[in-house]
């Protein structure tokens, strides 16, 4: 069974700051890891995913994430945030060959102007 942990419920930064949103997972096999963003009152928007290959994956709007097998992590980063990046970010994992996606509890990012 795969699990996902997002240790920070809330992160607050100023516009232009860099940010890292943390995600740790547990699963013994091969997996897909993804990040999604949910703006207030909206649905889920895909940001990026990792399955294999280069552990650093680039996503939309300047986001990137780095997979680390040794740390069981898939942290999301952005070098310079904009106020419009304020949203809830969900990390998700699914086992390759499986059908179930498990979501983390989400991290609410607030970017102050």
């Amino acid at each position: 069974t795969q699990t996902v942990s997002q240790s920070d419920a809330h992160v607050t930064v100023f516009e232009g700051d860099s940010v890292e949103l943390r995600c740790n997972y547990s699963y013994g096999g091969s997996i897909y890891l993804s990040w999604y963003i949910q703006h207030h009152g909206r649905g889920l928007q895909f940001l990026l995913k990792y399955y294999s290959g280069n552990p650093v994956v680039q996503g939309v709007n300047g986001f990137k994430a780095e997979f680390s097998k040794s740390d069981s992590s898939f942290h999301l980063r952005k070098a310079s945030v904009h106020w419009s990046d304020s949203a809830v970010y969900f990390c998700a994992v699914s086992a390759t060959g499986g059908y179930k996606v498990v979501f983390g509890s989400g991290t609410r990012l607030l970017v102050s102007p």
């Binding site: 999604y36 009152g41 059908y99 979501f103 983390g104």
Partner: protein, 115 residues
């Protein structure tokens, strides 16, 4: 490209009534469809998983009697929330994939308000 459409996007129903929501896969064959619910201020919980040629599997705390699901072909699925009450409000998300070793594509969700 692969897309998943959900409709309606938003709906309001009276307490005790039922509401049906639909999920359409475009550009790929949805061999499996999963329905999730996001209650207010919460994360996404899996309700059930429907895979072609297999029985629909419901997660703990969710039942077919409350959330009947139909998955009649490789492009469509629907789910009904029967006798909706306040605790059923939230965003219902459909995720579909083709085959085991592929990614899941999500719709934008159906937001259910119960009054």
């Amino acid at each position: 490209g692969a897309l998943v459409y959900q409709y309606p996007r938003r709906t309001i129903c009276k307490s005790g009534t039922s509401m049906r929501m639909e999920c359409q896969a475009v550009g790929f064959q949805a061999t499996s469809v999963a329905w999730y619910r996001q209650s207010p201020q919460k994360t996404f919980e899996l309700i059930a998983l429907s895979t072609v040629n297999s029985a629909i599997k419901y997660e703990q705390n969710f039942t077919q009697e409350k959330f009947p699901i139909s998955h009649p072909n490789l492009s469509f699925s629907s789910m009904t929330v029967l006798n909706a009450y306040l605790e059923d409000r939230g965003l219902y998300l459909c995720g579909a994939k083709q085959g085991a070793n592929t990614e899941v594509f999500f719709g934008k969700g159906t937001r259910l308000t119960v009054v």
